[in-house]
Every structure is written in C-alpha cells, then in structure tokens.
C-alpha cells in the first residue's frame, strides 16, 4: 500500500520503473530467473516501517511483479526498517539474521530465505546486451575489461575489509575477535548453568535439612 497522503500515481510509477529494472537485470542471469520461477505463485509482503513503503513481490516464470496493493494470501510477510532489510539482503547467513535481527516475520520463512539466496547469488551477464549494441568483438572486449575491473574492485574491497578487521581485532585491540567473543559467551552460559544447578542442589539440601529438623 502506498504511504498515506502520497498520490498513487507516484508510487505506482516508481514501482513500475523498479519492476522494469529488476526484470531487465534478471534477464541477464537466466539461471537466477529459472530459480526465481520456482517461487512462482508465492507472494512476499515487504513492509518497510521507515520510510513507510509496502511492496508485494510476486516472482513469476517470465516476470517478477512488484505491487503496491494486493488483496490475496501472502506467503511471507516481513516488517522492519530499511536498515534491517539492507542487513538481510547482504547477510551471509540469512536464517541467523532473521532470528537475531529486528525484522518481524509472519508466515513461511523458507521461501524468503530461498529468495534471499537467489538474489544474493545473481550473476549478471553484462556481455549479452553489450554485444547486442556494440557487436561481437567490441562488446566482448568491453565486457572483459568491465569484468576484470569488477573482479579487481571486489578483490581490493575484500582485502581492505580483511585488513581493517585484523587491525581492529589484533593490532589496536579495540574489539575482541568473533571466536574469542563466542568462547567467552560459551563460558558465561556454562557458568550460568552451573550456578543454576548449584542453586537447585542448595534448595534440595535446604528442604532436606528442614524436613530432618521437624
């Protein structure tokens, strides 16, 4: 549903443009499109609370539809802020993000995790449209150049992230490494269980002393 007060013409136009861009992108990854077709017949309701935008996503065999209004049954409804959705979109473990994050989920979570996986694995083939416009030779060369640039950029960014993480954890010691934190949480949990067990033993002993004194 459109945000209150906004002319439906604007929201419908924005969704139409987004849907066209999404389907154009999906056409560049036939494998991803085939996987999405497996979700045909499902409807995902995405309810963003800030900014307030409600969108219904319907994957189809040939086209994926984005709707502002939908009256039928919804497979999965997800509610949260734009930041929460961005976190889910980029998550390496979407199930953990859904459980631990701020997103509110209603309905079947499995198709949503599948959808997130398909979107995350999209591998767009930019060569086809370039070849169509520029011809085989020039199109292929430009695509190769772009691929090399893209893979160099990805490698540089992942290397930068790794080095930044290492500096924060190991050199500056600003935050403990993940494994250390998990180990610490494990110890705390074990200690908590031992305290609870000790408390129940004390309780049992107290009851026994009380009954012996009577």
């Amino acid at each position: 549903m459109a945000p209150a007060g906004l002319d439906p013409t604007l929201t419908t136009a924005a969704l139409a443009a987004l849907e066209a861009a999404l389907n154009r992108a999906l056409a560049l990854d036939p494998a991803g499109q085939r996987q999405l077709a497996g979700l045909a017949g499902r409807t995902f309701a995405i309810e963003c609370t800030s900014p307030v935008v409600h969108v219904y996503l319907q994957p189809g065999a040939e086209r994926t539809r984005l709707l502002g209004y939908y009256d039928g049954p919804v497979t999965t409804r997800v509610r949260g802020s734009a930041a929460d959705f961005a976190q889910l979109a980029g998550a390496s473990d979407p199930a953990a993000t859904l459980i631990n994050g701020n997103l509110v989920l209603q309905g079947d979570s499995a198709p949503l995790i599948e959808l997130q996986g398909i979107i995350g694995r999209l591998d767009l083939d930019w060569e086809a449209p370039l070849v169509n416009v520029l011809g085989d030779v020039a199109g292929h060369q430009l695509a190769q150049f772009l691929r090399a640039g893209f893979s160099a950029g990805t490698a540089a960014s992942s290397s930068l992230l790794r080095q930044l993480e290492e500096f924060i954890h190991e050199e500056a010691r600003l935050t403990p490494p993940r494994l250390e934190v998990e180990d610490f949480y494990g110890d705390v949990q074990a200690l908590q269980q031992r305290v609870e067990r000790l408390q129940s033993r004390l309780e049992r002993l107290r009851k026994r002393i009380r009954s012996a004194g009577q």
Binding site: D7, A13, Y69
Partner: protein, 249 residues
C-alpha cells in the same frame, strides 16, 4: 413540446436515442490513432493509471474478467497475462472500429486462447448472471447513455464477491490544477487532435464529456444505488482521474 428523453453529448443536449450513434462516430474517427493520442494526451501516464487499476482488481490465475469499453486492449492484455491459460478475459466494446483495432493488436502480440472479443453495449451485457470475477471499464462510462442502467448490468454479470473497477476522468481536487487542466483540455487537446488524428471535433467532445461526467462522490453514490457494496474511490494525479471500486454482495 417533444416527449423524447434527452441526454448530454459533450455540452450539447441530444435525444437519448441519438447519443450512441454520435459517440460511435467519434470513436470510428479516432480508433486508428487512439493509442498514440492516449500517450500524447496523457504523457504516458494513462499506463500508470491502468497499472494501478490492475493492482486493485486483485485478479488471479484462473479467474474470468470482462473489460468493457476495452478499446485497444491495454487492460485486457494485462488481465490475459495474469489469468493465464486456465482463465478467461472478454474484451467488449460497443464500437466496431475500436474492437477491430484492439483485436488486431492483441492477436499480433500473440494473445489467444484465453481472450474473447465481443461487440456489446454496456447497458445490455450479453452474458449470463454471475459470470465474471471482475468487471472493468476504463475511460468508457462517460460515453454510456444511461450510466445507472450500465452499472446495474455490470452488477448482474458479476459473481457474488466479484468487483467492479471504473477508471474515469474526474474532478481535480486542487483548484489551481483544475484551471491548468481546463486550459489544457480545451486548448491543447483539440489542437493535438487536429494535428495528429486530423480531427479536432472528436477531441473537443472528449474534453466536454469529461466535464459532464459525474464527480468522484456522485459516481460513488451511483455505484451504491446500483447495488454495489464496500464502494470506494482513489484519486489519481490529483483527481484528474479517479478509480472507483465496488463489490457484489
């Protein structure tokens, strides 16, 4: 004094029997350039209005849809995609020229199997009671001679729980927008009609018929009077167009 009932044809008062023929002449004249003129006149926004109509129709696979005054088949094509091979879409138009243009266009685009074409008057729909899950009429109701009779006919052919969608020009909610819209309708539209379709009179009629069409609340009352329930309307583009929706109980 004549005892014949009259109705409006644009700003003119004409005999009720004559209106259908006059409207038919307008659409015979514009049929060939109808799509092009729609795009030019609305700046392409009519596609957004129709997309919103499709969303509110909530039509699903396997359902049956009647698109009245379907003209060149914009809505019917979208409905045919949604209902799929197990569904049924009927494109109905009273005007033979418009129906021919729509049929040729849709067949050329590969639509067949779930699509039928029927020349029919919206006031006397030639379908059994309770036939359709959804009935739509986009930019057609204002040309109908007896709108109340047409609405009752649409209610009759809808299945219980089915919905009617009326997409039609309406009254802008902002007075400034209304002034600008008036200027556009009575100066620019006939000029464009003369330039592109070689027919300024038909586009002058279109502008006049829009002004004579009931406003949002009046049409809402007409839907309720015809027997529709849970009626509502959505203003689009500041009320230049309104989408009315009603359900059959």
């Amino acid at each position: 004094m004549s005892d014949k009932r009259t109705t409006h044809f644009g700003y003119r008062e004409v005999d009720e029997d004559a209106k259908a023929g006059l409207v038919a002449n307008v659409f015979h004249s514009v049929a060939g350039r109808y799509d092009l003129m729609n795009d030019l006149m609305s700046g392409g926004i009519h596609r957004i209005w129709k997309r919103f109509t499709i969303e509110l129709s909530a039509v699903r696979t396997g359902q049956s849809v009647l698109d009245i005054a379907g003209g060149t088949g914009d809505l019917a094509a979208k409905f045919a995609d949604i209902v799929g091979p197990t569904g049924r879409v009927v494109l109905a138009d009273i005007n033979e020229s418009m129906l021919n243009v729509g049929r040729d266009k849709l067949l050329d685009h590969g639509y067949q199997g779930n699509l039928e074409f029927v020349q029919a008057d919206a006031q006397y729909l030639p379908f059994p009671d309770d036939s359709f899950d959804c009935v739509s009429i986009a930019f057609g109701l204002r040309n109908v001679t007896d709108k109340a009779l047409a609405l009752r006919s649409m209610l009759r052919v809808l299945k219980p729980g089915g919905r009617l969608l009326v997409l039609e020009f309406s009254k802008p909610v902002n007075p400034l927008l209304e002034k600008a819209y008036d200027g556009y309708s009575f100066r620019v539209l006939p000029f464009m009609g003369r330039l592109v379709a070689g027919d300024s009179d038909s586009y002058q009629y279109l502008a006049e018929s829009i002004r004579m069409h009931p406003d949002q609340d009046t049409l809402l009352g007409m839907l309720e009077d015809a027997g529709f329930v849970n009626c509502e309307y959505h203003n689009l583009t500041g009320g230049v167009v309104a989408l009315h929706r009603g359900f059959k109980a």
